[in-house]
């Protein structure tokens, strides 16, 4: 069998910047922030009073009865998947045994878990919703999308904290490469803007506490960054075998040509300051794609705005790409979306696909003073044009636990 190639034929998203891909991408290119003060009463008991909630509430995009059986993360997954499936031309005639779904979440249905725990304590066991388990299980978003699309090649949920979304796309890529499926709906979602996860991240000193200026709190690579901003939402990509996509006349955005996966073996939450795991992941991803650093012109960085993480990543990028890092436009879109945890690698992959399509690297906002320790070429404030011709781009994602995932996309 000849080598199977994988292309992107559909995109979907619901994010702090918009209820779909077009509105989100437009806001990204305009350098807007999706971070706002929380309106919930519980914010007062936390050291952090802001987050990046989705711009469009699921209730505006979904029927009430459907919503009440779904965790918020599952609502995001269905909303973004419906957009992506439609964008891919709704290929419903496909043999469902050749259709897969791989959608990740970093935490799962934590809001459902906490709500039902409160109901148990207040009203007793009989009042706990019978929908609780399908709502809180981390594979719930993937399972609901798989059910709706009748996917029968396999429905999967890799979990690797903030690398989960990227790992899901990599898993989907492998499913098509290995001839398990012809189309896989892939991505990641997260719905954890709730007092418990926020208190927990705050306890790790991982969150920014810039309460007086939320829109400028997420500031990757800035000298005075003080932590990440929690975001919610998700991104979905329809991946498809190249010949299959051509045969049905599908719109093809770009190719996904490689992935690199490594683990640090260093610390449960802190990044390895040497970044050797990240460097190896980049090396493996390029090898897997049959490329070198010379082919790479854009990178959507993990860059969450934490003091340690951003510099460790930038150093690793510089070491892995060498002198070729000089022609790589690095964008940190979490400056606008906040950190979607298990949705991050997915929405950032959506941005990468749009960047290749429009030949525009999105901006990184909120850098007032570039940290002098950052030795990569960061796109600041406004989008930057990417070269015409054949180019490739990287998306890197890392998760607590020491997970490193690098994806390679290229123009066709």
């Amino acid at each position: 069998m000849s080598q199977r190639r994988v292309v992107v034929t559909g995109l979907g998203a619901t994010t702090p910047l918009g209820g779909d891909v077009d509105s989100t991408w437009k806001a990204v290119l305009a350098g807007q922030s999706g971070v706002r003060l929380l309106t919930d009463d519980w914010r007062e008991m936390l050291p952090v009073h802001f987050a990046a909630r989705v711009a469009t509430e699921p209730s505006e995009q979904m029927e009430r009865v459907e919503m009440r059986r779904l965790d918020r993360s599952e609502q995001f997954a269905l909303i973004a998947s419906r957009e992506a499936w439609k964008d891919a031309g709704s290929p419903d005639e496909l043999d469902k045994e050749r259709l897969g779904v791989v959608i990740a979440s970093g935490i799962g249905g934590v809001i459902t878990l906490m709500d039902q725990f409160n109901i148990l304590n207040e009203k007793g066991a009989r009042s706990v919703s019978p929908h609780t388990v399908p709502m809180l299980m981390p594979n719930g978003p993937a399972a609901n999308v798989g059910l709706e699309l009748q996917a029968k090649a396999g429905v999967h949920t890799p979990v690797s904290a903030c690398a989960s979304g990227a790992e899901a796309i990599g898993y989907a890529f492998e499913m098509i490469k290995n001839n398990r499926a012809d189309i896989v709906v892939s991505g990641g979602v997260e719905a954890a803007c709730h007092q418990l996860p926020m208190a927990a991240f705050a306890a790790m000193k991982a969150l920014s506490t810039r309460n007086d200026d939320p829109a400028r709190a997420s500031r990757p690579y800035d000298r005075d960054r003080d932590g990440f901003v929690l975001g919610e939402g998700g991104g979905i990509l329809v991946l498809e075998e190249y010949e299959h996509a051509k045969a049905r006349g599908a719109k093809i955005y770009c190719e996904i040509s490689g992935q690199g996966l490594t683990s640090d073996g260093y610390h449960i939450a802190a990044p390895d300051p040497e970044g050797s795991g990240v460097q190896r992941a980049i090396k493996f991803a390029l090898q897997n794609a049959g490329m070198t650093a010379k082919d790479i012109f854009h990178l959507n960085a993990h860059a969450t705005s934490t003091p340690a993480g951003d510099v460790a990543e930038a150093n690793a990028l510089r070491k892995a790409l060498g002198a070729d890092a000089d022609h790589v436009a690095v964008s940190a879109t979490k400056s606008m979306t906040g950190h979607l945890l298990g949705g991050a690698g997915a929405i950032e992959s959506v941005f990468l696909v749009k960047a290749l399509q429009d030949r525009l690297a999105p901006p990184t906002i909120n850098i007032e003073n570039l940290d002098p320790a950052v030795t990569v070429d960061v796109v600041r404030d406004t989008p930057r044009a990417l070269p015409a011709g054949d180019i490739a781009a990287l998306n890197d994602s890392f998760g607590f636990g020491g997970h490193n995932v690098v994806l390679v996309f290229n123009s066709l």
Binding site: R68, S127, S129, P130, H131
Partner: protein
């Protein structure tokens, strides 16, 4: 004092509409929960718990399988309220 059948039916219609999204107008005594109204087993648990709260009756788990139609449920609740 027993609840009136008409009151129980009206309340049950509201509950089924809330839980399963079935328009109250299409819920009648002879409708089968699973076949006519597409109330699945998980949603039926929600309907039962909501009925217990609303009508102040107990509906034991072993009785739930006997509530095949809306009329079965209404009659059970009316009798249990006696």
């Amino acid at each position: 004092m027993a609840l009136a059948q008409a009151d129980v039916l009206a309340g049950l219609k509201e509950i089924v509409e809330e839980v399963a999204g079935i328009p109250a107008a299409s819920i009648e005594l002879d409708k089968n929960f699973t076949e006519d109204l597409e109330v699945d087993s998980l949603s039926m648990v929600e309907v039962v718990v909501a009925c217990e709260e609303r009508f102040g009756v107990k509906i034991p788990d072993e009785k739930v399988t006997e509530l095949v139609t809306v009329g079965d449920a209404v009659n059970f609740i009316v009798n249990a309220s006696n």
